[in-house]
């Protein structure tokens, strides 16, 4: 049975290879279209809200790094935090130092010439203990 299947497979493989080669020749245009990357699109207007995970805080420098991304494609984004930034934990005003790595925060921010400036940072999830 296995031998018959293999024999049939060899015959069919030859047929399939022929078909595949013909299809490459005949459909080259269509397949080329699929293989060429799409045209570059302008960067979307940046949202001023990001939900991400605190990675580290540098209180002295007034910055906070967060982790964000798409599935396993991740990156770190740095936000500036100044005296006008509102930090909220469990509905109450807090300080940057009260946040910690691994906590999920919702950041309202603005793009400035000096980088992303956080207007409000609200903790929305804390890791289980």
């Amino acid at each position: 049975m296995q031998g018959a299947c293999m024999s049939r497979g060899v015959t069919l493989s030859a047929l399939a290879l022929t078909l595949a080669l013909l299809s490459v020749l005949a459909c080259g245009g269509a397949r080329r279209e699929a293989s060429v990357p799409g045209p570059a699109t302008p960067t979307s207007p940046t949202s001023n809200v990001l939900t991400a995970t605190c990675r580290s805080m540098n209180v002295g420098a007034g910055t906070m790094d967060v982790i964000t991304g798409l599935s396993f494609a991740l990156r770190v984004i740095t936000f500036r935090v100044d005296e006008s930034t509102e930090v909220v934990i469990r509905g109450e005003r807090a300080e940057l130092v009260d946040l910690g790595p691994g906590r999920v925060v919702r950041i309202q921010y603005r793009r400035t010439p000096q980088g992303n400036l956080a207007d409000r940072i609200e903790e929305v999830w804390t890791p289980p203990k």
Partner: protein, 387 residues
Amino acid sequence: MSRLAETAGAAALLAGLVGTMGCYGTPAAGNPLDGLTGDQRDRFKQGRVVFNQAFTPKTGLGPLFNGTGCASCHKEPVPGGDGSFTQLNASVLHPNGFCDPLADRGGPVFQLSVTPALKAALGIDAEPIPPGAARGKRTTPDIFGFGLLDAVPESTILAFADPNDADRDGISGRVNRFFDGRVGRFGRKALTPTLAEFTEGAFHFEQGVTVPNFLSEGTVGGRPIPPGVDPLPEPEVSAELVGHTDAYVRTLAPAKPKDLDGTAKRGQQIFSKIGCAKCHVPNLRTGDHPIQALANREFPAYTDLLLHDMGPELADICQGLVATPSEFRTEPLMALRLARRYLHDGRASSIEQAVQLHGGEGARSRDAFRALSGSDRKALLKFLSAL
């Protein structure tokens, strides 16, 4: 189109044809779900072309990558199946419990290949992993039926969770969470919340191809990509092609289990009796879905999509906001009979060995398996081999 792409396309077409003809005994593997509309089937076919496509540096590959296309890894016995490639992940678990995915150093997936231009610029063959990081190997999973897993309501997963083992059965499932706090379900540690993200993200972290929802090419181990190494504008693949690929993966049918004979049916009962079904939940039900073929459908998933502690022997890396090194998501057993390597890192070469290597929350069922009579054990393995 490059020769590489043409060759890969021909090989994929060949594999698809041979697979469809039944030599692998997989009537459904690689085919679309039953009940799709004509338009949905067209999108499946369009997506299959992209899935089988091989990228080159000129079309966006790299500069770091693991495979040249989806089907360069997901290829056995047909596109969408598993493969022999093993991915490398790394992370650092800090004493305060924070799991650093090394996102600033190129993590958590560290690519094992580089383009000729990057090699010429930096003299490396793979992305460097920071010293001291824990490493975890991940085999290529088959993706048959992933659209059904995606369509299971989150409330179902949350209802299975028992983080404190309140019912005292020795099984405590926990949900993992992505970096924005959403519940994860895809990946060996359930990091990724949705199939759409899993598919689009893979273009980036497996092929080095930038996508509309992740435009940054990233770094090479934390260092900027040298000028001129990857001059293509972002995104390197369009939203349209990502959409086609998503449609293909989403509507790829689960591999149909073999019909169970009397022995295998007895094995199915033993599967439940010794507690395997507490985590490998036999049937899940999808919720409402815009694709009718995915809506309100019960299917044999054999997973609860939760994290379980599998013991220190299997432990490797932490991942996401919750998963500790020893926690893994219950692996769906759909298409188990097509697998050639077992467990997250492929260390088991047979289903029986995989069962024997269960620890932690799986130890009780493993011990019950060991205590079975020879014929009962054979019956259970026959059942599993039919999935």
